[in-house]
Symmetry: D2
Subunit: 349 residues, 4 copies
């Protein structure tokens, strides 16, 4: 079968690989739709170290092709969503309430990391009964595929942010995860959602997904503006959706004492992420810093699909580009180089 791989650090392309086979609890899925993620770019640029012919991608939906002998919920032909994170559910980290950390730190993130990813005609799913969900009839493949990572991670940012009904929230950066964090803040009942973003297309999407106010850091003093919008109190919750030291510092500064900084960003650079000491209340202002990695699991996926099926959030506004799988190299370049005002490129198999 055809697979789109990282041939080595800095180089991608197609490779021919055998169709995978399932172990007793596993499934193999024939891919129908996939999304490219900026973390695919990080991987190719060496973010997780050298790899040779590793199939890329972790966001996909498809049709079940084959299941192992112990799989009870799924059968060939089922239209399924697969989580970007596919935990080992019996692992102590999972038993501890942190399945995305099963096996190792970030160990639930297997696709295009500890095993081949989903940018292939077929891909393998471990613990299939626990890590896939059937897609309801009213939900399109395109809408469903956003639940694999974008909705799950973005909403997690809101959930871990401990937002009270009527609370104030700032979402720092309105990329795809930030936009879904914005939608997530609205889903949790925030009374004021501030989106920080400078790119007009993303500002517009932020409004679509529920931002009440946009703060453009190229034109305004972000901290001053947010303090003004919150009667000088700071926000209940700041969601970091970029993964940059400067943004993280801003998040600490704009959060009220007793509030929460919720991180969804991948910090790819530097030895340290720095907490501004004084604004952190010299370690005593009760500003909690929470982090997470995309939650997976059938229960989670079913809930996200229910949100989409009920029309609460329509993620397909994120699709700015569409490519056939054969045009994967071009698609990858568009996202990698942030060409043409891209948000998310959808890949059609």
């Amino acid at each position: 079968m055809k697979a789109f791989v990282m041939k080595e650090i800095g180089r991608v392309g197609f490779a021919d690989k055998p169709v995978p086979r399932p172990g007793p609890g596993d499934a193999v899925v024939r891919t129908t739709r996939a999304l490219i993620c900026t973390s695919d770019s990080h991987t190719v640029s060496g973010g997780i170290g050298p790899r040779e012919n590793l199939t890329l991608g972790h966001e996909a939906v498809g049709i079940v092709h084959e299941v192992g002998s112990e799989v009870r919920i799924f059968r060939p032909g089922d239209r399924v969503l697969v989580g970007a994170v596919t935990p080992d559910w019996g692992d102590p980290a999972s038993q501890n309430g942190h399945p995305s950390q099963s096996g190792a730190p970030l160990g639930g993130f297997k696709f295009a990391n500890s095993k081949d990813g989903v940018f292939a005609e077929y891909f393998h799913v471990n613990e299939a009964d626990a890590n896939m969900a059937k897609i309801p009839d009213g939900v399109s493949d395109e809408a469903a595929v956003y639940c694999a990572d974008m909705l799950s991670t973005g909403f997690m940012g809101a959930e871990k942010g401990n937002i009270p009904i009527g609370g104030t929230v700032a979402v720092l950066a309105q990329g795809p995860v930030g936009l879904m964090a914005t939608a997530g803040a609205r889903l949790r009942g925030a009374g004021l959602v501030i989106g920080v973003e400078s790119v007009p297309r993303r500002q517009k999407l932020a409004r679509t997904y529920g931002a009440d106010v946009i703060v453009d850091f190229t034109k305004e003093d972000v901290i001053g503006r947010i303090m003004e919008l919150t009667d000088n109190q700071g926000v209940d919750t700041a969601i970091e959706a970029l993964g940059a030291d400067a943004t993280f510092q801003t998040a600490i500064k704009i959060t009220k004492p007793g509030g929460t900084v919720s991180n969804t960003g991948y910090f790819g650079e530097g030895e340290f992420v720095r907490i501004p000491r004084v604004e952190w209340g010299v370690g005593m202002a009760e500003k909690t810093i929470a982090t997470g990695l995309c939650p997976g699991g059938r229960l989670r996926l079913d809930r996200l699909l229910r949100v989409v099926a009920a029309g609460r959030v329509d993620p397909t506004h994120l699709t700015t580009h569409q490519f056939a799988f054969d045009d994967m190299e071009r698609a990858f370049e568009v996202l990698d180089k942030k060409l043409d005002d891209v948000v998310k490129p959808l890949i059609v198999f």
Copy 2:
């Protein structure tokens, strides 16, 4: 001044009383709008025991008339919302995170209970800085007054219900609190909100406030229907918004293992509220039963007003009747006897 009082058990009417004076931390408010609550009826029928010439009512907004020497936030002339529950914030119960229980069980509920209520030309507010909120310019008195109890109690039902994003929720009874619990479930991100109600006007309001499905217990088997709607799993959260033994039992039965029964109802009758033993998993199915009394406090009120100001929820659809304060006796009769398909009567001063 004129006050609408419970003269004795079973009898209401007007009385003349002196305008109250504030202690050092208190305020006196000139009433502009108020709402009648079914609990006013409970009180008159003897629910809290005998009272003589007790001013009724706990839901009101108004204009600050006078403040005590230690009040710092408010001044005469401020347009304010006052919580139905006005806790003693220094009490150990408040320090324990349960301000509505300050002083005694349910002790935060002072109006028309341990002191005169709000159905008067002026009323007294203890710990004014902590128990009132300024009404933003864009919010009408009518909208604001619903925040005193209806939004606070209804949303609490959703909040204590531990609803996950995309979770399933049933709200049992769509009276004013149940309707706000429905709105609250939507605010917390529920993926499926089931409203149980038989009265057409309330069914329609339930849809307005976000119910996805209405189950009419006069026409359907509630438990069977809800199990069907949840793939036989039961709901994540059942909100009891009636205060009846039978409804409470249904709530236990329709909740999935590991789910939450969240009570907002006032149980006014019988020696016991009964848990169905088997469906409660013989005490081991991890169905948590949570309860609460309307949260008060300036922080809470500010957040509720923000929800209203931002247009997330418009509570004024609940107003089915409007009366001048002079017509209070008729207004009380309409609610007490549930005449004319009443939901909430608004009183204009």
Copy 3:
């Protein structure tokens, strides 16, 4: 092999059965020590319905005899503790944080329920890597076997009770689970632990495990005494460790507003468990009712073994009787009929 079974409702005895074989992720364990539980009695008396030749027992330790092809952590010869509850870790209930409810309400409780139990020379363990733990060298088989259910369930009562450091706790009934709830309350930092019990041997054990005060319901008014001990406030946490309607009612009554009733008891009788309406604050006093079923899993077992290894709690004081497996019929009779002041009978294989 020899197995001690429920032949039919009301009748027990030995049966000959084949040694079980493991599936790919399973293990078979050769039993070395086991404990009899009152729930074995409930089962025999028909508590879970009719069964034919069902092997009884769910508390055991042993030596790994055989493992399936996918088991990675354990090998034949390992000395292991097996949880009384052995969840399906990939199930949605487990993903929801309620593994004891996996598959069905109380579905994690498989031994002597949905499959053969541990009162046999060998027994089968599903998802072995997730449901067993190696016993550290310094921990005896006898101490370890108490971690299967007694420590896990008793401590859970304390954990779900939300005990603050210095808080007040009452544990209603000092049977083996109640005694471990008493120990658990101390482990969580309770400042006052009140044990309610009338049997002298159990009163003495309660003091050993950390009760500060014993209240004997045959000699004192339990509610009055507990209110007196708590300055008329009620306790922060009441742990019900009997499973009786009357005890549950007492638990509600002695809990302060904002406190928690934590249930560990199995309610075996009656259509209802009854909440006293007025003392429950007419549904508004914020007295949360939490329940649970013995937590399982390797992480949990490892933590319990650490508590025992570190000498924090010595569960072997619970052993009042010891029998060889061949004397199982007598052992069962002793516990079933509560003869000879029995607390826990240890079975030696």
Copy 4:
């Protein structure tokens, strides 16, 4: 009256001041015992900016001298403990569950900060009913005074650390707060408590208060040793009790994915506190960072006194020195310069 003050940055001494008078809800206490804290040193060295003749000290017990007209719980002559932090309980931060942040970040910390402290013959207590507690007969003044800050802050480190029963905990630095965090970890049921400390006297105290293992950073690789002690998993909870960038980094590194870093330390230096990026799981390992400021309030104080009265923790082992109030200058010097292996100097009035 005589008061021990910070005359200016870097200079302390006695001053004569009038005895304070209470407002309506306040009290004035005649000091009997006090403790000096390292934060008094920080203050004198300019940590909170310049002050002129500010009375120092925040840890004290005494006898009620005078109460305001609205004080209901206390009377002159009562022997009382006063919290180091005395919140404004009606403030929105308090209503939000963060009373130590009332009024401003760290705003509950009033003594020797926004008002005169307790190193005087008399001192003033705001919201007396809410911020003091009667000392039980069986508790000495010396034991009680440790509850003002040391027990409250140290235990908070354990409480915010989310320690499971049987969990693993490292407490970084065994100064007085670290020692009480060690005691707190034991009170929460930790199965392994690792104390990191190099000073022999403090190592010995750490064992007294419950550390199972001492790691001496001058002789061992702390991270390597802790990973070894935890089967290479890291601890569930790392408590930072020093307030140093290097220690904080260690805390992040030794915490397992899904674990908690709980900070009690005051960070007094540098622009940033730095998170090691990779060991923080590039922002995705679910290592929560929690912080807090000494909890105050009568409920808290009563609970701490109960812990002491019940003999769970004896804080008086911390007293290494004792001085009369007249020798305050010498006492301050001893702590300030860490002379004579000091842990805590007790001041007798």
